[in-house]
Amino acid sequence: MNLQEIQSKIEAALPGIRLKPVRESLLIEDAAMLPKVAAFLKNDPVLALDYLSSVTGADYLKYLESVYHLYSVEKKTGPVVLRVRVTRDSPRIPSLVPIYRGAEFQEREAFDMYGLYFENHPDLRRIFMWEGFEGFPMRKDYEQEDSEILETADIEWLDRHGAKVPEGMRKKAADLKAQGKRAVAEKTGKSIE
């Protein structure tokens, strides 16, 4: 069954749904409809897409996306790719864990890296980064620390542990603090391109 047929099948089963083919995938325009579509695809006797192989976050600057790859183990077909788009300001997507149990860790990963909030997820925590990490490192606007320049937090930590800190580093950290900045790695103009 090709994408066109699957699209018309979903549209027939769920009247009022808006789908749009994007490349080899189906974009569900209203993110709230995702669980209904997934439940239909899973329970339909012909398609029987019973295996959610991956949940991927993606950042396209204008919007964030979550991409789902569905396979059918029973029919040995797949993948069928679904997409959901959300804005950067409110990246809320209904969770697929009630339908596919295996989505749990994958959604946690997408949350950890892209900051997509999966509503109704039973345990939405960071999975790779530690508790207390700030920001979502795979987003395109993530600001990575400059690992060569010590900041005041580092200096205080080193003082507490009795390590000697050179005066130059102290001064740099104090300057940064006075400017209210943190040491962020930025691209200089020079690059090999």
Partner: protein
């Protein structure tokens, strides 16, 4: 690394002559160091792909047992050598430092592979430590991605040379009050706190990588993204060459 080799003052020729008669002339230092260098027990832990090479080195083909270092111990209390084989992620780095602190003196560290030396192919990453030498002192750096088992054996031999050059009276771990422990970094909001321990490592004044290539290329805000709604650019179809008419 420059070694001052422990040389005995007895003439080598005389030593050979005596050895033929069954008399061995040596010094306590040499005997002692020979014993230590021939039974280095490495710690059994690997962090990434380099660990596979380390395992190969320990197996039959390369056989690290020839150098007396075959007894991989699963406990830091029983090991002399830590081979940091693989990528040290920021999440793993505190554990590596803690393991180092738990090792008994004398202790040695080999960094194996580009990753543990400087971050390797992942140097631009938000999650990889740019070299474990930011927190603990290293004895032998072993470049490669991964270094071949021969390279690891070479590194081990270099370490043996270093051990051979040490003297019992002056080595630091027999001095009173010696405590070689380094503070274990904490997890911070953007990475590890501190970013490095300036007692162990400091950024270079001249950074040729920066001069030559600019700031590491992949970090910083990104401003480009593909447009999915635009039609795919189809590559031009190669035309079969026209048959040549004579």
């Amino acid at each position: 690394m420059a070694f001052s080799k422990n040389q005995s003052e007895v003439d080598e020729g005389l030593k050979g002559e005596l050895a033929k008669k069954g008399v061995v002339v040596t010094t306590i230092n040499q005997l002692y160091n020979w014993g230590r260098q021939s039974s280095i027990w490495p710690m059994q832990f690997g962090l990434a792909c380099c660990a596979i090479e380390m395992i190969a080195t320990a197996c039959a083909r390369y056989d690290i047992a020839r150098f007396g270092a075959e007894l991989f111990r699963p406990s830091p209390r029983q090991s002399d050598l830590m081979i940091v084989a693989g990528t040290v992620t920021k999440k793993m780095a505190p554990q590596v430092v803690r393991l180092y602190n738990q090792m008994a003196e004398p202790k040695y560290v080999i960094t194996m592979g580009a990753c543990s030396i400087a971050g390797g192919p992942f140097i631009d990453g938000y999650n990889v430590l740019r070299g474990i030498d930011r927190y603990i002192p290293i004895d032998v750096h072993l470049p490669g991605c991964p270094p071949r088992p021969e390279a690891l054996l070479y590194g081990l031999m270099e370490l043996q040379k270093k051990i051979q050059s040490q003297e019992i009276e002056t080595t630091e771990w027999y001095q009173k009050g010696m405590k070689r422990e380094y503070p274990v970094p904490d997890f911070g909001p953007h990475g590890l706190v501190p970013k490095f321990n300036p007692e162990v490592w400091q950024p270079r004044e001249l950074d040729h990588r920066k001069d030559k290539y600019g700031e590491p290329i992949l970090i910083g805000r990104k401003t480009k993204a593909p447009d999915l709604d635009a039609p795919l650019a189809t590559p031009p179809v190669a035309q079969p060459p026209k048959p040549q008419t004579a």
